[in-house]
């Protein structure tokens, strides 16, 4: 207030001059006007004061938002501009789920809450880092701060993960996922928050010295601690203390590079835009919309999508843990949009597979699920690219039939089959191999060969498998790194793969078993050949299942991996029983024939798209 008084004094003079009352009139009628003038003067002064106050408030508020004090800020000659601290939306809400409730106060829930909080803290710190107009020192300290928070975050995630593993999966959703969603909203709301709290803001700003170096950090903790406090037992002192202790307990990761990597990884996740863009893709218009027919979507386009979408897939799998059906639905939905790309690949693969058993009698096959085992050895011998099947087999004997689920992934890994001995290898092979798979038929064809069997297994066996799977993913979803999730699954997939392979032989009993084995490699070299030789039935099945699934409609994913995985699931348990209806098959056969004819005629199309291994119809 004192300041304002001064200001108004000096300013008032100016105003008087420019005001309506000119000095001349002033001097003339001194007696009559002095009094009125004085009153008016006082009045104006007061108004000016108020206006200046208002202006100051506005300027400060603006500064809070922009980080810079506006030039319009009314400064007296000797006055220093107030220190403005940019305000970042500190008032966010933690998701209810993350706040431990009295009922279930467990270590896990506590850690989850802590984790959710830490996530926001880290996010805030990161944002502070990105701020412009910072002095070097400040920036540096903020960077450090950010790294610290990141470390904490990691540790929390790890502990939470560990706990989850121990407890099995108790809560349906990991805190990780929830918080991700939250972050987006909290960011958006930050502006409005600061506006709403302007009273608070101004008061804060008027006493610059009191400002905390990291307002965001200090602010956010307040709300959650209160809640967590109540739920957790009384021994809990304060959030910050707890955090510290946590930090101490956990080994610090000395590698800065790791941290930076994490930040880069996580940032996109945290900053999810309200509407998520899918990667830019193209789709050929030569396939009917949502029809399973043949499609030739370029593998080129889909490959980027695949890489991006992979992690989400994992998440999906993990979350799908509850009912099998659910997971099916979800997966199927994802692929629906990308209808064209998947079916194609499928078809080709299938074709290659079926060569061995041209007329696959599904009914027969169903009963045969068990067969594969004994044949395994045979199989291994015949095919050069198959790794040591016996080894794999031994590891996961129980998950025999499950292969259908992951068969697709196994495709991708095929290039790496040569050295399948140890788990770590598989894991690493996974990410790498997937892109490879997308490039061309070669990668897939061998895998495709193996695949055929998946339809055959009896439904009952499948079910058991599913149950198992359900157990797996839930635990995994908290895993901070991609690898964790993959690790458990990949071996299984691998295995399945081998197990399945034997089935074809059985089927092919009547035809020529030996030939079957040999054929796949040959096809491998000649994609065209493959397509020509397709066994219709296989294709039909595929198409049919595909069609069904596509009708479920849903989010899009173009990742090949995902689709493959999905498809397998859907196909095996449900579709298998339906195969008998021959009508459908026939129709499809016709189509396939047409398609083939088309291929023959327009061979150049295939040639044109070097990257597409699929042929356009």
């Amino acid at each position: 207030m004192e300041i304002n008084g001064e200001i108004s004094d000096t300013d008032s003079g100016i105003i008087l001059h420019s005001g309506s009352d000119s000095p001349t009139t002033h001097t003339k009628d001194v007696t009559t006007h002095t009094r009125a003038m004085k009153v008016k003067h006082q009045d104006l002064r007061d108004r000016l004061e108020i206006c200046i106050l208002e202006l100051k408030k506005l300027c400060i508020r603006e500064a809070e938002l922009t980080g810079r004090l506006s030039e319009d800020y009314p400064l007296l000659p000797g006055e220093k501009p107030p220190q403005i601290r940019r305000r970042i939306g500190a008032a966010f809400k933690l998701d209810e789920q993350n706040i431990p409730h009295g009922a279930e106060e467990s270590e896990l829930s506590f850690v989850d809450a802590e984790l959710a909080l830490q996530m926001k803290i880290y996010e805030a710190a990161r944002k502070l880092c990105e701020e412009e107009h910072l002095s070097k020192a400040v920036r540096k300290s903020r960077l450090q701060q950010c790294k610290r928070e990141e470390k904490k975050l990691k540790q929390l995630q790890e502990t939470s993960f560990q706990l989850r593993l121990e407890h099995g999966r108790s809560s349906p959703l990991p805190a990780f996922n929830i918080t991700q969603q939250d972050l987006g909203t909290s960011d958006d709301s930050s502006l409005s928050d600061s506006v709403v709290q302007d009273e608070e803001v101004t008061s804060q700003s008027s006493q610059p010295s009191s400002g905390l170096p990291y307002p965001v950090e200090t602010d956010p903790p307040q709300p959650p601690p209160a809640s967590s406090h109540s739920s957790v037992d009384g021994s809990y002192m304060s959030p910050s203390v707890a955090k510290q202790s946590l930090q101490l307990n956990l080994p610090q990761s000395p590698l800065a590079s790791l941290d930076s990597k994490l930040s880069s990884d996580s940032s996109p996740l945290y900053d999810l835009p309200p509407i998520q863009h899918t990667p830019w893709t193209e789709s050929s218009l030569d396939q009917p919309y949502q029809k399973n027919k043949k499609s030739r979507s370029s593998s080129k386009t889909s490959s980027p999508a695949k890489s991006e979408l992979l992690p989400p897939l994992e998440a999906c799998l993990a979350q799908a843990g509850l009912p099998l059906q659910l997971s099916h639905l979800r997966l199927s939905r994802t692929q629906s949009s990308s209808t064209p790309s998947t079916p194609e690949m499928r078809v080709h693969r299938q074709l290659s597979l079926r060569l061995s058993s041209p007329e696959s009698s599904f009914d027969k096959d169903r009963g045969r699920t068990r067969g594969p085992r004994r044949r395994l050895t045979e199989y291994a011998i015949t095919l050069p690219q198959t790794p040591s099947p016996p080894v794999n087999f031994g590891n996961h004997a129980n998950s025999e039939d499950s292969n259908s689920e992951h068969s697709f992934t196994s495709y991708n890994s095929s290039p790496c089959q040569e050295s399948p001995c140890d788990l770590p290898k598989y894991q690493s092979a996974f990410p790498i191999s997937s892109p490879v798979g997308s490039y061309g038929p070669q990668a897939f064809s061998p895998a495709g060969f193996y695949h055929n069997p998946r339809h055959l297994p009896s439904p009952s066996t499948k079910n058991t498998y599913y149950n198992k799977e359900m157990v797996y993913p839930p635990d995994m979803d908290m895993s901070p790194s991609y690898f964790h999730q993959q690790a458990p699954c990949s071996p299984n997939r691998y295995e399945y793969w081998y197990k399945d392979t034997p089935v074809p032989h059985q089927r092919s009993q009547r035809p020529l078993p030996p030939d079957v084995r040999l054929t796949p490699p040959a096809q491998w070299d000649h994609p065209q050949y493959r397509s020509n030789c397709l066994p219709r039935q296989v294709v039909n099945e595929q198409l049919k299942s595909w069609h069904r699934r596509s009708q479920l409609k849903a989010p899009r994913s173009r990742s090949l991996d995902r689709q493959g995985a999905v498809r397998m699931k859907n196909v095996s348990p449900r579709e298998a029983p339906c195969y008998p209806n021959q009508k459908y098959h026939d129709q499809i056969n016709q189509r396939a024939a047409l398609q083939r004819a088309a291929e023959g005629v327009q061979g150049h199309w295939v040639v044109d798209d070097g990257t597409h291994y699929m042929s356009q119809v």
Binding site: P279, D286, K291, S337
Partner: protein
């Protein structure tokens, strides 16, 4: 071809009529599209304005119906049979283009060379 959301778009367009090729149950258009409001426009290699979420022609099958009709790679599709294509999702665009019961699709497309050509001709016209 860039535009401000909410403002009318002005562009030089070419009318292209594609006779779909019927092969079995399948109708072939002979080109591929990319883009849509649900896709990341920044990755669109064809757009000048990287925020443009329009539908773009990404691939033309040589000798295919689209090729015959004069569609070119990189064209931005403005309309399909009168339906706006500048603000649609990728799938919507696909649907519009691949309708089974339509043997012909009429496109309004715009491309940079078109605009330049028009500008050029306008310029000479004025000079005369």
């Amino acid at each position: 071809m860039s535009f401000v959301p909410g403002q009318p778009v002005t562009a030089v367009v070419q009318r292209i009529e594609i006779q779909k090729l019927r092969q079995g149950n399948n109708l072939i258009l002979g080109f591929s599209i990319g883009g849509g409001i649900d896709q990341d426009p920044g990755q669109n290699p064809f757009s000048e304005d990287k925020t443009d979420k329009g539908i773009y022609v990404t691939r033309i099958t040589p000798g295919g119906p689209a090729d015959v009709a004069g569609l070119m790679m990189g064209d931005k599709i403005m309309q399909v049979n009168g339906w706006d294509m500048t603000m649609v999702t990728h799938d919507k665009a696909r649907k519009r283009l691949t309708k089974k019961n339509e043997d012909v699709v009429r496109l309004l497309v715009t491309r940079k060379s078109l605009e330049e050509a028009v500008k050029h001709s306008m310029g000479t016209y004025h000079k005369q």
